[in-house]
Symmetry: C2
Subunit: 363 residues, 2 copies
């Protein structure tokens, strides 16, 4: 167990935003909420799975919807606590702790808020090692852990509970409700025992995020190349450097959907890039050819500061670097890959691990 203090939050939110692959919520909003909670309620105890009892029940907490709305309409915090408590009441079991369901600027740190306010432990793991736009897209689903009982609340005080026959049904019902909530709802889901999590969770995600954040911060301080520092920290590949020439983004079906076009600069002069997203980056094409696809991670970084740019922050004229890096190996198992395959998202392309693809396609 170690304590998370206010000063840990900055690095975690930054690193988690890299892993959030464009989604997972805005790191600034997440940072504000987590910091404020720690300031008010004290530091949060971060446990590894090995430090907890196998029977302990852990309930992840997160925000759901279109991240661009969450930036404009800050979560109140009460809605998150309301969803978390509703799930505990419904289950009839007191949650021992909370955790992140995904890595992302908001969703990695939202459980820090819950842990601080309810004075319960947070566990250093998550269900994706990245962020994904749909509820059933977790390693948990591939391991038979159910998203339901599922609880959702909004700023008005509405509470929805779902007990469904599959994780896809939670996605279907919750997505249609979150649209009516104004594309922003706070959720608690995928309750699991520590024993289940030892097998199915991705371990150490918070610490990994913090390490990535620290790396970027150090690179900046040493006036080194922060983009290269991130790339090395995640074991990734530089796909592109250039300028954003067009962004098409809309709120559709409770997600941010759209694409961004870029024109290459430097080594990439004359090349063009097309990045498509549904909350998270799904695929990236360079000169019309796939350069990386889901479930591998694609991050857009500010080319000077290495700061990850979420899909809602992409703007015309930004100078950026695009890196791609391997997903957690669990995503490459058949049952998991099916959940997040490029074909699931409508791309008629085989999945090729980014490290192999990169060897074939890069200059």
């Amino acid at each position: 167990m170690r304590l998370l203090h206010e000063e840990n939050i900055e690095d975690i939110a930054l690193g988690a935003a890299v892993l959030g692959t464009g989604g997972g919520g805005d790191p600034y909003v997440g940072k504000l909420m987590a910091r404020e909670a720690i300031r008010q309620y004290g530091p949060v105890e971060l446990y590894t799975l090995d430090e907890l009892d196998d029977d302990d029940l852990i309930v992840p907490a997160a925000g759901m919807g279109a991240p661009i709305v969450i930036v404009e309409k800050l979560p109140a915090g009460d809605d998150m606590i309301r969803a978390f408590k509703a799930l505990g009441r419904y289950s009839g079991r007191e949650p021992r702790g909370t955790m992140s369901i995904e890595a992302g600027g908001l969703n990695s740190v939202m459980p820090i808020y819950v842990a601080a306010r309810l004075r319960i432990p947070m566990v250093d793991c998550d269900g994706m090692g990245r962020a994904f736009p749909e509820i059933q897209m977790t390693i948990f689903t591939a391991h038979g852990i159910t998203a339901s009982p599922f609880a959702m609340s909004d700023e008005r005080g509405n509470v929805l509970l779902m007990d469904t026959v599959s994780n896809h049904w939670v996605e279907t019902f919750a997505r249609s409700c979150v649209v009516h909530m104004g594309a922003e709802g706070m959720i608690a889901l995928y309750s699991a025992t520590v024993k289940q999590l030892k097998e199915a969770a991705i371990h150490g995600t918070i610490t990994l995020a913090e390490d990535i954040g620290k790396t970027v911060r150090n690179a900046r301080r040493q006036e080194a190349n922060p983009v290269d520092a991130v790339r090395k920290a995640v074991g990734g590949f530089l796909i592109f450097r250039g300028k954003i020439t067009d962004v098409d983004r809309r709120i559709e079906g409770g997600w941010n959907r759209g694409d961004a076009k870029m024109a290459g600069t430097g080594d990439f002069a004359g090349d063009d890039l097309l990045l498509e997203f549904q909350n998270e980056h799904l695929v990236v094409r360079v000169n019309g050819e796939f350069a990386a696809t889901t479930p591998d991670l694609i991050a857009v970084l500010d080319s000077e500061t290495g700061e990850p740019i979420t899909t809602e922050a992409l703007r015309y004229g930004m100078r950026v670097a695009v890196i791609a890096f391997p997903c957690a190996p669990q995503w490459r198992e058949p049952a998991a890959l099916e959940l997040a395959h490029p074909r699931y998202f409508g791309y008629d392309v085989d999945y090729e691990p980014v490290e192999e693809r990169y060897l074939h396609h890069s200059r």
Copy 2:
């Protein structure tokens, strides 16, 4: 208390379909389910509110969605029981009995199924004295009784629970979910104590439905005019007689929506009628002028048998009579009228009680 046997069901379903004003579900489906339940589990005890303790908790049970789907895809029954039990579990209180939330061919008798199968009493009252297409449209809403906790289940086994800040929010969330359930879900809602119901419910609806059904049956047997018998039994007015010349009906937003056109015959030769519906009949115009509007009741009857025709059964060429009759007086109180005013449904017309309107407009 009196017992409802198999032989009571026919009259109740028929009379309730008259009160269902085109909606409230298909009487044939309702009849089958209730009869089968009584055959299997024994007769149902029907109580008046005065025969129960003020503190007893009563939970209405119903079907929600587009009635045309429910005809094609019979409710399994298990889904209804699942919703009812989920609500009891969530409330932490054992329901003492059940009741109809609305009058209608299916929704009047669905609680008979629940009462028979769970061996609990049914109460002779409802929340509308007719049927309406949206969840918040009850006399209960006008009396501050909440639709939530609300439970909903489908044939697959999905269970949704809602605890919302207003009855409109239940409608919003549940409607969007029922669309994904294939426009058919079974629901439990508006739990209330007998004390609350004594003030807010419409008393004696099941007995009224049975009386109407009996009247039609007797009129048929005596070769009298069943349409006129229904008209007299409900204190109504004959608005039209004619032939259906056009039906436009679609499943939209989890409802049957559309309209029917008719050409007059007999005394009404040369006249035309336009009937618009959203599950239930909303307004009827004769020769372009409003002849009756919500919240008053409009029933389309087979001109020979007096059998009420639900919106999903309207067909080109049918020979029908259209009658209109006054809603329960509670609907004319301001708080209730606002919930079901023609303007709520988008008709730019003042509400004029049908008995007054009829005096002005009819021949």
